[in-house]
Symmetry: C2
Subunit: 416 residues, 2 copies
């Protein structure tokens, strides 16, 4: 019998309890023994919950109970969740979490402490909700050198972009719709500004390249500036706009970026819509493998947490315990040193003059016409591939031209 | 140090040796110790191979060498591969294989013997080439009851169907192109008649539902009757034709089928083209998760084999050892008892009469017009969903009508 304590009886925590009960027969069979939730720690009472008798407000009931060998941390954040995770390790308890912020921020130290304490720290649910991605990266693709990762890692922003594209809503309307459907929080900044996707690509990259990739060093840009007009131009390019999280191993450094990107409709993730996530992993033997599913939600995320719990019960003394090493230098390539193509829209008094000026500044560009002619006071173009730093300075020099009034949008164009 | 013997130095076997050498540093790190190929058993000589010194023709060099603890079986078939697998187990050696035929045919007995001998029998590479699917089913989705699987499991047929759709080649031309590109064998029957996909869905279903699903009992239909005209009709339905392998848990029985199917372009696997495979797993907690990648090929398949080898080295004494149980009855639902919709094309002298007759026989049907009018002597329609048995008998009665000359095609229509 394995005894589990769940810390935080919120959406994911209560889902974990539900999945463990609902699928208890098959879970016990797969784990080789029964898995029971012994305690649920939360500051709140849940008098109407079927699990009310398991609720405790006293952390000692969890940490001082030696029969509890696995702690599920679904509190979130880097405050009390951090303290409790350390305390669990020091008491010889394995920890399973869905807390991407904690893993992305204190992963190296927590993994080190877990190893020292001879316990496991598993966090499959921290990326991609229910989509199996961390275990596949660690195990299934273990024979590969991972050379790159491309993903739609945030369901909220993907839902918003889908609503804009499919329903013609503008950003604010689409965001409101996401909030009404429970896909976005009242304060949606972490999602729409890309921070959530950034933490996730940092975690995946740390696993893939076996060194800590600090989310603080990753260039991150959200989707709040994306307009329906941008989407019409993308359509004219037979493309769509997605919030892409990308990382690549480049020599002994890592390129990583989170930003909106224009991708061809033939790109494998172009059709990933609504709250779905998709992650493409490029390995030197397998080529591209893609993992797709709902990136969030109570039961999908809970099922990923429970899979980690089962894994611990199955291999209780034998998990390989990786520790991400922090580099004493910034291992992320400066965004200005990375290469890309930009899609740029400018408003222009005289489009012919503007086009000539653009060609002078950027050289070989591809001009884009949107289908509707409501954009006749605009010039839109895609640059050749070049270092971001150069493109940024060239972009600045657009403003110096008398024929160009303003830069309306700048969006990266990503090839497969 | 873990010592590996590779049985069969063909495409996959030589790929295994290549991946183990190429990625040896990261593989050793992940496995926790060095993994070395000590012997390669093959009846052939390979004087020009860099691995020629490891080649042996004598099985005793593998089975009587106690320092070899893992055997990679990449011989294929159910003859000598079967014998060697048993011998390895009896000598206390773990076996990793890509041999879907052996697993689908003798899986229950081999798993039982492995368990009795205290060793593992792993076969990630037997389904989906390099795509991680067996380990995710076993581990990542362990918290779920698996309720259904839908997949494009055969790269050869998917390549042929893609060539037909995209290049307008007919079946024979597309098959020839597949053979020229090394995607189809000289005798392509196992692929194009669906047997390969059938073995794979049998293996996946056995894992998912935890009981042996015998491929012999699965209704299997290949793609050799699919024509360009069928594809034009599919296009008119905003759909595509794919060879789908499907299984579902229905009460205490299992529905399983391999057949061409017309699926909407919005279906998650509709855009899976060329030799790519995709597998959708439906779990009661996660909902749909999809796994996508190259379903065959030397290095992708080899990387799946090596992942299993690494897993054995990591958890050498602790893997859960499942044994599929053979049922003493046929646990597969009779195809005639399963429900479907059919797309049916008939040639007709008088289409109005034919349509009336069809409505009499089938009731509520949807007539389909292809874009080109070269099909004016035809009537095509999609039936309502009903038991296959009823539809088959109704189909027979079409032939009784004076207005209908012949049944040209019958293809199942599959919804999401």
């Amino acid at each position: 019998m394995a005894n589990v304590a769940v810390l935080g009886y919120g959406v994911v925590g209560s889902g974990v309890v539900e999945v463990l009960k609902e699928n208890s027969v098959s879970i016990s069979r797969k784990a080789g023994e029964e898995i029971r939730v012994k305690k649920i720690l939360d500051i709140r009472d849940f008098p109407d919950s079927p699990d009310r008798d398991l609720i405790t407000h006293n952390p000692d009931d969890v940490f001082e109970d030696d029969s509890i060998n696995i702690v599920v941390e679904t509190i979130g954040g880097v405050g009390i969740a951090h303290e409790y995770t350390r305390r669990a390790f020091l008491k010889g308890k394995h920890v399973v979490t869905s807390n991407k912020e904690l893993v992305a921020t204190h992963g190296p130290e927590l993994m080190k402490l877990a190893k020292e304490c001879g316990v496991n720290y598993l966090f499959e649910a921290s990326v991609g909700g229910g989509i199996p991605i961390i275990r596949p990266l660690n195990q299934c693709l273990a024979a590969n050198e991972i050379v790159g990762i491309t993903g739609i890692l945030n369901g909220t922003t993907n839902y918003i972009l889908t609503q804009m594209k499919r329903e013609g809503k503008n950003f604010d309307e689409a965001l409101k719709s996401a909030q009404q459907n429970g896909y976005a929080e009242a304060n949606p900044a972490a999602d729409i500004e890309g921070h959530d996707a950034c933490r996730k690509i940092a975690i995946l990259s740390s696993i893939a390249y076996n060194e800590f990739v600090d989310s603080k060093n990753i260039y991150t840009e959200g989707i709040s500036n994306i307009t329906l007009a941008d989407m019409e131009y993308a359509e004219a390019m037979n493309s769509v706009i997605k919030l892409l999280a990308i990382s690549k191993k480049v020599g002994d450094k890592i390129f990583a970026r989170v930003s909106p990107a224009i991708i061809s409709k033939n790109h494998p993730v172009a059709n990933v819509e609504d709250v779905f996530n998709a992650i493409i992993v490029k390995g030197n033997a397998i080529g591209d493998a893609m993992f797709y599913g709902k990136g969030a939600g109570k039961l999908p995320t809970a099922s990923a947490v429970v899979a980690d719990v089962i894994d611990i019960v199955r291999h209780i003394d034998s998990n390989g315990r990786t520790v991400w090493k922090r580099k004493d230098y910034n291992n992320i390539i400066d965004i200005n040193e990375s290469t890309t193509r930009f899609f740029i829209r400018v408003s222009a008094n005289n489009s012919e003059e503007a086009e000539n000026y653009i060609k002078q500044v950027f050289g070989d560009v591809e001009f884009i016409k949107a289908a509707r002619d409501s954009y006749k006071d605009e010039v839109a173009f895609v640059t050749a591939k070049a270092k971001e730093g150069e493109l940024v300075s060239k972009k600045e020099s657009l403003k110096a031209s008398a024929s160009i009034n303003d830069i309306i949008s700048v969006i990266r164009v990503e090839e497969e």
